[in-house]
Subunit: 226 residues, 3 copies
C-alpha cells in the first residue's frame, strides 16, 4: 500500500514554553514497511503570524497532500483528522452532523468541508484515490508529523543563522539528532515500532540542544543558537 499523508507541527515557543505559532506542514509518501517516508515535501508558515485555531492546518495539509499525490499517484491519502477513516468526499452537512465528535469538531468540519469535500470528490473521480479522515490510527499521519518536526528544526537552524537563537516545540514524543549531513527525527514511543524520518542539511556552525518541555510532558524542545 502506497500512502500519502500530511501533518503540521513544530511551534516557535516563547520564554515560558508556550506556543506562538506553527512552523511546517509536511506531506510524505509512505510505503511498505511503513517506518519512514520515501519522499517528502514541505510548506512553511509564518509562526509569528499564525491562527492556532486548527482550521488552517488541516486545509494546508489537504492541499499539500494533494500536491504530492498528483506526483506520486498513491493508493490512498490519509488526513490527520480522527473521524474513523471516513472518506472526505462523503462529508456533506448531514453526514458531519451524524458523526460522533464534539460540537466544535462539527463546526470546524462544516466550514472545512465547503472546500475539501468537492476537492476530494473531484480527485476521486479523476484518479480513484480516496482521501480518508483517519487521524491518529494512521502510521503515515504519524510519519508526516515526524517530518513536520524535522522540517521545523531545519527552519529553526536557518532562522538562528539570521537571528541568533530560536526555541522550538517538537511534535509529541519525538526527538531529533543532527550530524554534518542530515537531521534525523525519531519517535520516542517504541510501541510505534521504530518510526523515523530524515532530511539532508548543509553544514553550518551552530549549537543545538534537545530537552523535555517542562510544561508539556512527553513533548521535547529543540533550541539552536549561533
Amino acid at each position: 500500500m502506497r500512502i500519502v499523508s500530511a501533518d503540521t507541527g513544530g511551534a516557535v515557543l516563547d520564554e515560558n514554553y508556550n506556543p506562538i505559532g506553527l512552523i511546517a506542514t509536511a506531506a510524505v509518501l509512505v510505503e511498505k514497511p511503513y517506518r519512514t517516508a520515501t519522499l517528502s515535501i514541505v510548506k512553511y508558515s509564518n509562526p509569528f503570524d499564525y491562527d492556532l485555531s486548527g482550521r488552517k492546518a488541516l486545509r494546508d495539509e489537504a492541499f499539500l497532500a494533494l500536491k504530492l499525490a498528483r506526483k506520486v499517484k498513491p493508493d490512498v491519502i490519509h488526513l490527520d483528522s480522527s473521524l474513523g477513516g471516513i472518506e472526505v468526499r462523503k462529508l456533506d452537512d448531514p453526514t458531519i452532523d451524524a458523526l460522533r465528535i464534539s460540537d466544535r469538531g462539527k463546526a470546524i468540519w462544516h466550514e472545512l468541508s465547503k472546500d475539501l469535500q468537492p476537492l476530494a470528490k473531484r480527485f476521486w473521480e479523476e484518479t480513484g484515490v480516496e482521501i480518508l479522515a483517519i487521524g491518529k490510527e494512521s502510521v503515515a499521519v504519524r510519519i508526516a508529523e515526524l517530518y513536520a518536526g524535522i522540517y521545523s528544526v531545519k527552519w529553526g537552524i536557518e532562522y538562528a543563522m539570521r537571528e541568533g537563537f530560536v526555541r522550538i516545540g517538537l511534535p509529541r514524543y519525538m526527538s531529533v539528532e543532527i550530524n554534518r549531513t542530515r537531521i534525523l527525527g525519531k519517535s520516542l514511543d517504541p510501541r510505534e515500532g521504530g518510526l523515523y524520518g530524515e532530511i539532508p542539511i548543509e553544514n553550518g556552525d551552530f549549537e543545538w540542544q534537545v530537552y523535555p518541555n517542562p510544561i508539556a510532558r512527553t513533548f521535547m524542545v529543540f533550541e539552536v543558537k549561533i
Copy 2:
C-alpha cells in the same frame, strides 16, 4: 501469587490490513516475578470462519483458563474483561446491570454469564479459586496476550508451509523474533517492565518480516512466505 490467565489474539489480515478472523486463544500460568509464563497451552480457531463480535473469544478464554487451572491449581484466574476485578461467580443479572460499563458490554455479559457464572461458582466451590474479570490491569492477561500472538505466528508459519503466504496482525504493541529453535514475543511498551513469551518451533525454510500496521498505529504485522 500463581495466576492463570487467558487471552485471544493474532488475526489474519486481508491485503488492506483489515482483520478477517482471530487465530489463537492462549492460557498461561504466571508466577513471580511475573514477566513471562511458566506454562502455556493454546486452542486455535479458524480465522476464515470467525465471529468477531467478541462473545466467542471470552468464552473460549474462560474454558481454556479453567482447563489449565485444573492442572496447575493456581491461586486465582484472571479473565480479559475490564470489570474492575469483580468475581465472575457473583455476576448475576442485577450485578451486571449495576456495573459502570456500556450497554453493549452489559448485553454481552448478560448472555455470557448464563454459562460462565455457574461455571465460576462451581469451580470456586470445588477449589476455592476465584475467577476475576480484571482485564487490562492484569499483567497475567497481558502475558496471555503475548502468547496468543506467538502461537498465532506459529500457526502462520505452518499455514504458509501449506499455502505459501499469510499476513497476521499481532496483538497491540508486541513484536516477534524467530530463531532456529523458538519464537520470541516481546512487549514493545517498556512501561510494562519487560514482559515477554517464548515457545519452541521446528526448523523450517521460510522468510518472515515484522513491520508496523499502516492503518493501526502501535500494532505490528507479521508476514511469512515460503
Copy 3:
C-alpha cells in the same frame, strides 16, 4: 525556568499487592534541561496509618513545596492536581464550581482551598511566585513523583534493616537500581525524554528485587529483605 514541585508516592503493599498506605512526599527543584532534580527534600508518612482518600497527600505536597520554595526561590511552583495550570490563589468557591472536573474533585478542592488558597495568595503577595495546579502536564511533577519513589525505596531499606522485609509499590512506570553509594530511579516511559532521579545511601547488607506488580500493569514492585 526554575520550578519547585512536590508529589507523594511509594506504597507499602500487602501480600496480594494491594496498597496499605503511602510512604513519601518529595519536593524537588527542577531546572533546565528538566531531566532530574538539582535539589530534593522528603517528608515521610506512616504507611501503616494512612488516609488513602487523597486529601492528605495534596496538602502535604503544598506545604513541602512551600518549604523548599522559601529556600531556593523558584520562578513557579507546580502541584500535582490536573486543573489545567490554574493559579491556586484564585481557587475560591465559585471558581472551583466552574472547573470542568468531577463532583468528587470539586468537593476535595472546596475543602483543600480553605487552607491552600490563602496560603498561595500570601506567598504570591510576598514573593511574586505562583502556585499552579498543573498536574500531569508538568515534567517537574513527574520528577517529584520519581523522587517520592526513590525516597520510598530508601525508607524500605531502613525498614527492612529493622523488620526483615518489606514490599513497596513504586509510582507508575518507574524502576529503581541500587549500587553501593546511591539509589537511581528511572522513568520507564521513553516518551518522557529520559527523566530520572538519584539520592545517596549508606552501604548495607540486603537483597532487593524489582518486578511488575501483577495486578497493576505498568507499576513495578520493589522488595527488600535482609
